[in-house]
């Protein structure tokens, strides 16, 4: 175990200004490392503002590009490249941790420019795509500079092996399980309630799938209540619901972390009907830690977190009838529901930062064996000097 203070540089590919799974993971990881006495800097695209945590270094404002079927807020270009280079040069880091080095953003630039102990984490789980295979030869020499690779889930690992022919160690994203353990069950949220959390206006979060299942569910369970927590315009969503069922749907607005723990402890079922585009099901891990029985769509990221149905029920993604059936079955069978919640609560400990953080640090230790600091890569140096760019 290394007990001296390390200087760790983390590179975030996506804009720090917008919330997202990768950003949250990096924030928690940085705080975990700082709490363990290390010096951490996070290089991320961000607008300069006073709200930035002091460990975040802005590399400039992000640009939006369509990537992989979604809009990604990333950063690259000549200016960004020179900022990455000077950050590495001045940082005197023992190790660089690059997130998503295979997408066109800061991490790729850092991987290209850096030399030394570098760990890469791959978040995305995608279907096999010829486009990514086609850019493989360009990425290969860059990706192979990483001393160690981490994939956040089994499906992310398979994505990596299929597209870039390289293997990775699976370490899941982390949660602070303790924050969710002590949720208090509130009477107003009890009963035949099913909970939904998230930015419900985004279709890929799958609220329409849940609302389409509502007519069937209410036929069998008339006192069903759908509790929706998260930011967004509720009017617009309600318009699409059958007027007779509108009183079955309640919007709680954006809720605090403490309310979230109570919410998860109160609802009978937690539903995650997401239709895709998830890199990891961190919300499922939180729901399990909060003691909720979880029902989720069977997209790869979710199936991984739920142990293929062992720790939460799965339904066929985008199939409202199947979702309705799973919900009705579980609401009618309290024993099964409790068993599922209990199994989930135990499994959630697997995702606790206490364990995840230590595993990541073990990878750091093995990546740093040569003991050399991270520097700018030497092979380009003579050439850049020749071209007068250094």
């Amino acid at each position: 175990m290394i007990d001296r203070t390390l200087r760790i540089g983390i590179v975030c590919p996506y804009s720090w200004d917008v919330p997202g799974g990768v950003q949250n993971h990096i924030r928690d990881l940085a705080e975990f490392l700082i709490n363990n006495g290390h010096y951490v800097e996070v290089l991320a695209p961000a607008t300069e503002s006073e709200d930035l945590p002091d460990y975040v270094v802005s590399a400039g404002r992000a640009v939006s590009i369509p990537y992989n079927g979604a809009v990604a807020r990333v950063l690259f270009g000549v200016g960004a490249n020179s900022r990455v280079r000077s950050w590495i040069n001045d940082g005197d880091f023992d190790l660089l941790h690059l997130h998503e080095p295979a997408i066109p953003s800061l991490s790729l630039l850092a991987c290209w420019a850096g030399e030394g102990a570098m760990v890469g984490t791959f978040h995305a789980a995608a279907k096999y795509q010829k486009a990514i295979v086609a850019i493989g030869p360009i990425l290969e020499p860059v990706i192979e500079k990483l001393s160690a690779r981490i994939a956040v889930s089994e499906s992310a690992r398979l994505t990596l092996t299929a597209h870039l022919e390289t293997d990775a160690i699976v370490i899941p994203n982390g949660i602070y399980a303790d924050n969710y353990r002590d949720g208090v069950s509130r009477t107003e949220w009890q009963g035949n309630t099913i909970g939904f959390l998230g930015r419900f206006e985004e279709d890929r979060k799958g609220l329409p799938v849940l609302l389409d299942a509502l007519p069937i569910i209410s036929r069998f369970i008339p006192d069903i209540r759908v509790l929706i927590a998260g930011p967004g315009d509720s009017e617009e969503v309600l318009e699409k619901v059958d007027p007779q069922l509108r009183n079955r749907v309640e919007f709680l607005g954006k809720i605090s972390e403490i309310d979230k723990a109570d919410f998860l402890a109160s609802v009978s079922l937690y539903i995650a009907p997401n239709t895709g585009g998830e890199s990891f099901g961190i919300i499922l891990a939180e729901a399990m830690a909060g003691g909720a029985a979880v029902v989720a769509s069977d997209i790869p990221a979710f199936a991984d977190v739920l142990g293929n149905g062992q720790f939460g029920a799965l339904f066929e993604s985008e199939n409202s009838e199947n979702l309705a059936k799973v919900i009705i079955d579980l609401l009618r069978d309290e024993t099964k529901r409790r068993e599922l919640a209990a199994a989930g609560a135990v499994h959630a400990q697997r995702f606790d930062w206490g364990q995840v953080g230590v595993e990541i640090f073990e990878v750091y230790e093995l990546a740093m064996v040569s003991g050399q600091k991270v520097s700018l890569t030497s092979e380009n140096r003579s050439w850049t000097r020749l071209l007068g760019r250094d």
Partner: protein, 167 residues
């Protein structure tokens, strides 16, 4: 004149590509060496702990015998036989750990705890090393690398048939 510039440009490009590829391969060789050195030292440590366990009161005489023999074998095996020797040691340690409930004294438990931590590290080290080896082998098979002998005199890294679920 135009042709000369074009030719010179092309020559520079090819030269750049070759130096780039050579340093790329060099880095991979370096990675294979360091990852093997790490893995080797971890395995040596494991064999040492296995011997310590064998001498302690944790194990019965038969298990002690098995552990001692396999630990010695793992330590003295040469490169080609190393992975099978280490697998035998993994098996012996696994058998011993299966009965760990019967172990009560604090110092013995500390020893086993150390062994478990080491096992976690070995798993990661194996993954890192195997990855480096396959990458290197894959690249050295490419035409450019063979044609210009970019690997120089570096020996082709040996594949180690570590079982992924060792221990």
């Amino acid at each position: 004149m135009k042709n000369v510039i074009l030719f010179a440009g092309l020559a520079i490009l090819i030269f750049w590509y070759l130096t780039f590829s050579a340093s790329r391969l060099d880095r991979l060789h370096h990675r294979v060496e360091t990852s093997w050195a790490t893995l080797d030292s971890l395995l040596q440590k494991r064999a040492a702990i296995a011997l310590e366990v064998a001498r302690s009161a944790i194990t019965d005489p038969a298990t002690s015998l098995l552990l001692t023999a396999s630990a010695y074998q793992a330590r003295s095996a040469d490169v080609e036989d190393r992975s099978s020797a280490e697998s035998v040691l993994s098996g012996a340690l696994g058998m011993m750990l299966a009965e760990r409930e019967s172990i009560v004294t604090k110092s013995d438990q500390a020893l086993l705890h150390e062994l478990e931590e080491l096992t976690d590290k070995i798993k990661i080290a194996i993954a890192i090393h195997v990855e480096a080896v396959t990458r290197t082998q894959l690249i050295r098979r490419k035409l450019v690398f063979r044609l210009f002998r970019l690997a120089g005199k570096a020996p082709l890294p040996v594949t180690y048939e570590f079982e992924a679920d060792a221990i």
